[in-house]
Symmetry: C2
Subunit: 154 residues, 2 copies
Amino acid sequence: MGTTHGHPAALRRDWVDHAIAEISAAGHRSGAARRRVIEALAEHDCCLSAQELHDQLQAGGKPVGIASVYRVVELLLSLRLVQRFDFDGGMSRYEPALPGGEHHHHLVCLKCGDVRPFDDEGLEHAIHSTADSADWAIEGHDVVLSGRCPNCRG
Amino acid sequence: MGTTHGHPAALRRDWVDHAIAEISAAGHRSGAARRRVIEALAEHDCCLSAQELHDQLQAGGKPVGIASVYRVVELLLSLRLVQRFDFDGGMSRYEPALPGGEHHHHLVCLKCGDVRPFDDEGLEHAIHSTADSADWAIEGHDVVLSGRCPNCRG
DNA sequence: GTTCCTGCAAAATTTTTGCATCAGT
DNA sequence: ACTGATGCAAAAATTTTGCAGGAAC
């Protein structure tokens, strides 16, 4: 398997500027809630829930109403600036969709709920082959492997 | 890409007996709600939401309370007799986990929301390679390709 | 100054739980 | 008979929406 760390911090910093520019290009304004949510997303190397974004921003002294968090991630989603993940039937999680197309997939622990990113070039290649031969116009993909993390494997 | 139809009806019929036997083996009883939900799941070749199961059973004259639908799918999930999918942040969907390990993955239309099963042996192989080399004890996996279905492609 | 953005509160949606009753063993 | 299963209704959790005030352009 490939690396299990997230994306380089530099790419995530670029993504902040990219996201703000795209929002502006789409005719929207740049308010505090938008900037704060975008920065919070960029601080992490894996996906965050709306509640986690809200709590983290509040703890950092830059509070954003939960409704605004949802509105910002929905806007980002509509501009394809974030990807949404739904692992466990509870809440959705969001992470930056980096402009270069770099992305990772996810390992989810069935016991403790931990989520970790991973990437694998062979798997990526197989997915593109599949997508290319599909009858659909494929725009995105996601792979989730579920099991026991090293801590919970006992 | 492989076939895009679901599993053979015979496999799904076997699954009904398998599921009931497993529930019994786990020390549970065989009530009407359980049998009805299991049969409803087996009638389809792709995943259904709790509300769809509830509505379909009611329309078929075999009503099951929505709370029971949720309790049955949760029981099936805990015994690994169904797999749960969360495609779009809304409701969860459930489909039989066939005993032989046969399974498919999903194409989700970003426009109309349609979900269709597909399978691809090369992709499956790549996933197993990835899973085998992971630091985790992988127990399951899922792949979702999203895009435009033939009807929505324009 | 106008229009969009934001936060709060209320509503909508999906899922879970409490409890009395009923059914399976 | 005993214990677990079911349905209804209430509650909980997550997400969306209405509206009034404030900020961006």
